[in-house]
Subunit: 585 residues, 2 copies
């Protein structure tokens, strides 16, 4: 099996030809001095080596050896600690971090591509750094200067790691019911007590300290506040002090992601520091959640890409059966890539993965514009970030599972064997549809808040912008343009209908949300497929341009019609879903 090789040509193409990174960066003062296309290409090139030579080699053993909980300590599999150290020393944890506190300040538009590589190489490993970057983002956005100065440099450097502590046994999707308590102290700090479950990277041996962001309630308040709680107290001079009443109760044994520690965390009068305002913890946490939601979407995307490469390589090597109509080479058996059904699977994976990467980079670009621009540009990008975050999380991870399952199918019986490695992608990526808010929750956020929350205004302008872009394409047929714009029109009509009935039919949004998001996603991917076909014209590598044409044609013919199924679903209301009494289930 060939090692993972990052799709650098595709990545550079998206930055340079599709989403106009050069101009985007030049127009943002904070970026203009940090990055240009040469820097970006050099970073991608270096990252591709890291993912291939450093991270992927620990992936399979990580799955076999698993993370262990021994004598109260969490031990990661062989090689994880050394790899994390090298990874940190390269500055990769702080790639998109705040330069004032030691981050490299690179644009998210570039960071998403590095994230994808790392997830393709090893899901479990990449979560540790991804959560650390997310925690740093939240601290940078909401904490006091004092906390930032004390904690951010060591998070960006990878010396410490971060974790997000939200869930409790009785409070998962519904956080109102958390019971963890925060007692205010005279020095302005708080004492945190309670238990959290499902804490990814809650403890491990990769770093000397873990910085937890913990949701808890103040006495006599039903509001939820956010606290920074270090595993080991940090002295005023930045050195490590005594331990802080933060212990690991146990770790979970999971379907996959076995090298990532999923911890029960116990807080026993642990010292914590308020982040943001009292009772506004969920708002602060959502800064991190939004970041993580995109990152988890990219987990799905990275898994799909890694699985695609394995399956495509296998299909070109594995010899079985003769092509329909006879072997082109006269052989008694051909590589299975000659078989239509194998090609159908590979092209499905390829087309949704290419389009998914476009979604990821576009969303990353909106994050950059929202942060580093001003005025109308900033306002629009902020709205698009809100609109696209739940879509990126849910649609990239749902398609990630589809892709890994199809890739596994290409392997036949060998796909079920652990040693082959492809089934690990299925198990590892499955969680991405569940955590950081299940994909059902994402869809309800999308339809309930982002689409109907402003009476369909943002979605309407987003679609209008796409239609305008589409109209200008010179190498795309009118039929293909219409296939996208008519479906978007349908979807807007449905969105307006739901918006008008959301108060009189309160169950409608919850019952329609997943299909609505899927319909939007499949149409949007169609647009991205055409966009890439259009922009690939004149690419210096002609076969690359050809590939983008073939893939777009496949997507438009064979995948886009899925949108119609989901549109049909949403059009039918919620009767069939809500009518049956619970006891008949």
């Amino acid at each position: 099996m060939n090692p993972y090789q990052a799709p650098l040509k595709d990545m550079q193409f998206l930055l340079e030809n599709v989403f106009d990174a050069t101009n985007t960066w030049q127009n943002m003062p904070a970026m203009a001095e940090m990055v240009d296309m040469d820097t970006a290409v050099a970073i991608l090139d270096e990252a591709s080596k890291i993912s291939r030579d450093l991270i992927q080699p620990i992936n399979r053993n990580g799955d076999e050896q698993e993370v262990r909980h021994i004598d109260g300590k969490v031990i990661t599999p062989d090689g994880f600690k050394e790899t994390y150290q090298q990874f940190s020393e390269g500055g990769w944890v702080g790639l998109c971090g705040e330069p004032d506190f030691g981050g490299m300040g690179m644009p998210k538009m570039l960071g998403v591509l590095v994230d994808e590589m790392n997830y393709s190489a090893c899901n479990s490993f990449t979560l540790y750094s991804s959560l650390t970057a997310g925690a740093a983002l939240c601290i940078n956005a909401h904490a006091t200067e004092e906390l930032k100065e004390k904690y951010l440099p060591n998070l960006y450097s990878g010396q410490w790691s971060g974790a997000m502590d939200m869930t409790e046994p009785q409070a998962g999707s519904d956080l109102r019911n958390i019971r963890t308590k925060a007692e205010p102290q005279e020095d302005g700090s708080y004492l945190i007590s309670g238990s959290k479950i499902f804490i990814t990277g809650g403890d491990h041996d990769l770093t000397e300290n873990v910085i937890h962001l913990v949701l808890a309630k103040l006495p006599n308040s039903s509001g939820i506040s956010l606290f920074l709680v270090p595993k080991i107290n940090v002295n005023d001079d930045g050195s490590l002090g005594d331990s802080n009443g933060v212990t690991v109760g146990s770790i979970e044994h999971k379907m996959g992601l076995k090298a990532s520690a999923t911890c029960v965390m116990n807080y026993d009068n642990a010292k914590g520091f308020l982040v943001g305002r009292v009772d506004r913890g969920l708002v602060c946490m959502f800064t991190m959640m939004n970041y993580e939601r995109l990152a988890i979407g990219i987990q799905g995307l990275g898994s799909a890409q890694g699985a695609y490469q394995m399956a495509a390589d296998y299909a070109k090597e594995r010899v079985q059966g003769v092509a329909a109509g006879g072997s082109a080479t006269g052989a008694t058996a051909d590589p299975i890539i000659v078989h239509g059904d194998v090609r159908r699977m590979l092209l499905t994976i390829k087309s949704i993965t290419d389009a998914g990467r476009a979604l990821s980079v576009f969303t990353g670009k909106q994050l950059d514009l929202a942060k580093h621009s001003e005025g109308d540009v900033k306002a629009k990008a902020t709205k698009y970030v809100g609109l696209l975050t739940p879509v990126s999380k849910a649609f990239l991870t749902d398609r990630g599972l589809d892709a890994t399952i199809m890739a596994q199918q290409v392997f036949g019986g060998h796909g079920y064997i652990r040693e082959t490695g492809i089934e690990q992608f299925v198990r590892d990526t499955r969680i991405a549809q569940i955590y950081e808010g299940t994909n059902g929750i994402q869809a309800i956020d999308f339809l309930g808040r982002k689409v109907t929350g402003d009476n369909v205004a943002t979605l309407t302008s987003f679609v209008a912008e796409i239609n305008q872009e589409l109209a200008g394409f010179e190498h795309v047929s009118d039929a293909d343009k219409k296939a996208i714009s008519l479906r978007f029109d349908n979807l807007l009509t449905i969105a307006n209908h739901i918006n008008e009935h959301k108060l009189t039919q309160p169950a409608l949004i919850n019952a329609s949300a997943v299909d609505f998001l899927d319909a939007f996603g499949f149409i949007l991917y169609g647009y991205y497929s055409l966009l890439m076909a259009e922009r690939s014209q004149g690419h210096e590598d002609q076969s690359f341009a050809q590939q983008k044409q073939f893939v777009a044609k496949f997507y438009m013919d064979k995948v886009l019609p899925k949108a119609d199924f989901h549109i049909a679903q949403v059009s039918q209301g919620d009767d069939a879903i809500m009518a049956m009494p619970a006891d008949l289930f």
Copy 2:
């Protein structure tokens, strides 16, 4: 978590009210004396206790402990041996076996329901008995009387088990390339030498002997013959003799099905006996394969049903969030079954599982009619068995994976934890889409042989019969009837189109097959949903009848439109699939 409870009411309903088992059995002399509805109900009742109290309790530990290969021996997890012994003593291995050699001679129409229960309870355990029953079926159909007398009684009694040895490293989907050799001996036996991989139940400690059915080639022949090769030689008096050059090279470490031994089997001049005619081994093996293909379909069905029960129970117990529009009970949090998206998932699973059970029983009925009837009835049933076998295998297992993944999603984060048990269903059932011929191979068999092989004649008469039945339904709307018959008409048009172009467009069948099978399956399930709604009218349990109405309405509104997506796919030919050169993948 409640223990698995077989859906006895649904099962009895299918036999009694939907597929008219009483008359069917009375009209077959071989069955009339063996079974009536009272006997069938008693058997189902007893089987439900076995699945719940005997088999399910070993399922989770089987997954954790796994089968082991120690000092050349294959050791099953704790409890498997004792359970297999009790299961065998109950006569369950030989439930549908030939009465002349110790089988119970029960109809397959009943046997499929028992199989489903056992797969719901434990995938790994049930494979051992299922493969044994399949091997016995093949021996009974093709072996000499001497071999039958010597081997069948101990297979039916469960004292020995059976295995099917086909795959070799270079010969998976394409068996022409097998290299295992059979040297004819003077006494009429053969010496078998070679290696086989992926042999389910190839060796284990459940029984004292394993009877292998091995595909091998005679010297100087490219034809493939079938041989019965016991692990331990059997003396003329039926006692066990010396070992027979059959050894286990290794066992596979798999994604799931961890308590089922998947073996590399080595044959070193092992003594074997020809089954069927020389060079006609594949034909004989297909007797077993067809039986196994239905059984593996039922693995998918059983997994779906088991997962549904877990998810429905969880959704009624887990409290999280308030119903849209406010809690009906005024509670601050409701069971998650109030949420539209959770109901959507549960109803999807329920509707495809109910319809899947109908397909399973109907196919079982055709197997009975093909075996025990005469004349036109036999001929028609034989054709229907051919038509429906690949559909049962592929569609039941594809929907099985969909169902288990959706059920896992209902559990949120808990669904990813091994202890919960739901993720085991996903891992265990995933293989069912791959082995016994991948679902791609099934689809090509369906479209290439079963549908276009007789120029669409069988499919046309099958659809005509359904349309006639539909026309007579008194409690189904005309719109629903049309929704089925129009889609079937579409599909027949496409089938005829493909049939006309199959020679000039040789890639068309391979490239269209999976979508064609899916389109057929989703329409057929719609028919079964309506059939069950129709026949449930007047059921003594009114709430059961109501449930069937609700489920049918959901299926027609929310699932049937999937057929349109697949019809759209098949209508578009193979251009988008075949055009891209292999090196662009």
